[in-house]
């Protein structure tokens, strides 16, 4: 994987009289997307069609990849969920959603029942928001579990008003 980085070095006052060089520290800032998430954009628009029984089906492409997290997110929306590896079916009172994997392993939703295209997008957006919380929870658990083995010691953990979680790790491993 390539990470194009632009480096700007401000070397003002860097050359030292006695010929020794100043010590240098560098900071990298990154944005990372968990593999459970396909893209940053949550939900694209819906397309409507009819099945062989004449029912309207609204299809919505999602960014969700992880079956277990998607099932958990659906249960959080009070859906009755049945799942196998190829398909997840979620049922609410008047709407049913069938999720199927595309060739890129990303789930797309097919909604039937009392729902139009905008309603389908709204429902998938709500599921996506819950999915995001599930991913956040999984990432935080993974960090707490794996960080010590990578030489990182958790110094502090704070939750912001927007529910984002900030963790500060001291670098104590072999790479420090």
């Amino acid at each position: 994987m390539h990470h194009p980085l632009t480096v700007v070095e401000d070397r003002s006052s860097f050359d030292v009289d006695d010929g020794t060089e100043g010590s240098a520290t560098l900071s990298v800032s990154l944005i990372l997307v968990p593999l459970a998430v396909a893209t940053v954009a949550a939900v694209r628009g819906a397309t409507a069609s009819r099945d062989e029984r004449g029912r309207v089906i609204c299809q919505v492409q999602t960014r969700m990849r992880d079956e277990a997290l998607l099932s958990a997110a659906l249960r959080q929306t009070n859906a009755v969920v049945t799942a196998d590896h190829q398909e997840i079916v979620a049922s609410w009172d008047r709407v049913q959603a069938t999720f199927q994997r595309g060739p890129d392993a990303v789930w797309s939703a097919h909604l039937t029942g009392d729902v139009d295209e905008q309603g389908a997008v709204d429902i998938v957006r709500a599921i996506d928001a819950e999915y995001g919380r599930q991913v956040q929870r999984a990432v935080l658990e993974q960090l707490r579990e794996r960080a010590p083995a990578a030489g990182l010691r958790l110094e502090s953990e704070t939750v912001a008003e927007d529910a984002s979680v900030r963790m500060v790790f001291a670098v104590e491993g072999r790479l420090s």
Binding site: V7, E9, D17, S23, T25, L26, V28, S29, P34, V171
Partner: protein, 72 residues
């Protein structure tokens, strides 16, 4: 005084992670791109790095370098 090496991570409720290394000597901070990707099962979609040289006693010589770094 040398800053203690740290990594600051923010995980949003949408599941997106931002990370910043602080106080890591030289280009050692670059190693943490791969470490964080492995740690988080994630891929980096944006990265930037800025030099933050610890200054000692000195001659003033304004010099700014810009270069592109491509990691394999």
């Amino acid at each position: 005084m040398t800053e203690k090496p740290r990594i600051v991570l923010t995980v949003t409720s949408a599941g997106i992670v931002s990370a910043e290394t602080k106080g890591l000597a030289g280009s050692g901070c670059l190693d943490y791109i791969t470490i964080l990707e492995d740690l988080l099962d994630a891929r980096t979609i944006e990265s930037a790095y800025t030099a933050d040289y610890t200054r000692t006693n000195v001659n003033t010589q304004d010099l700014q370098e810009e270069r592109n770094v491509e990691r394999a």
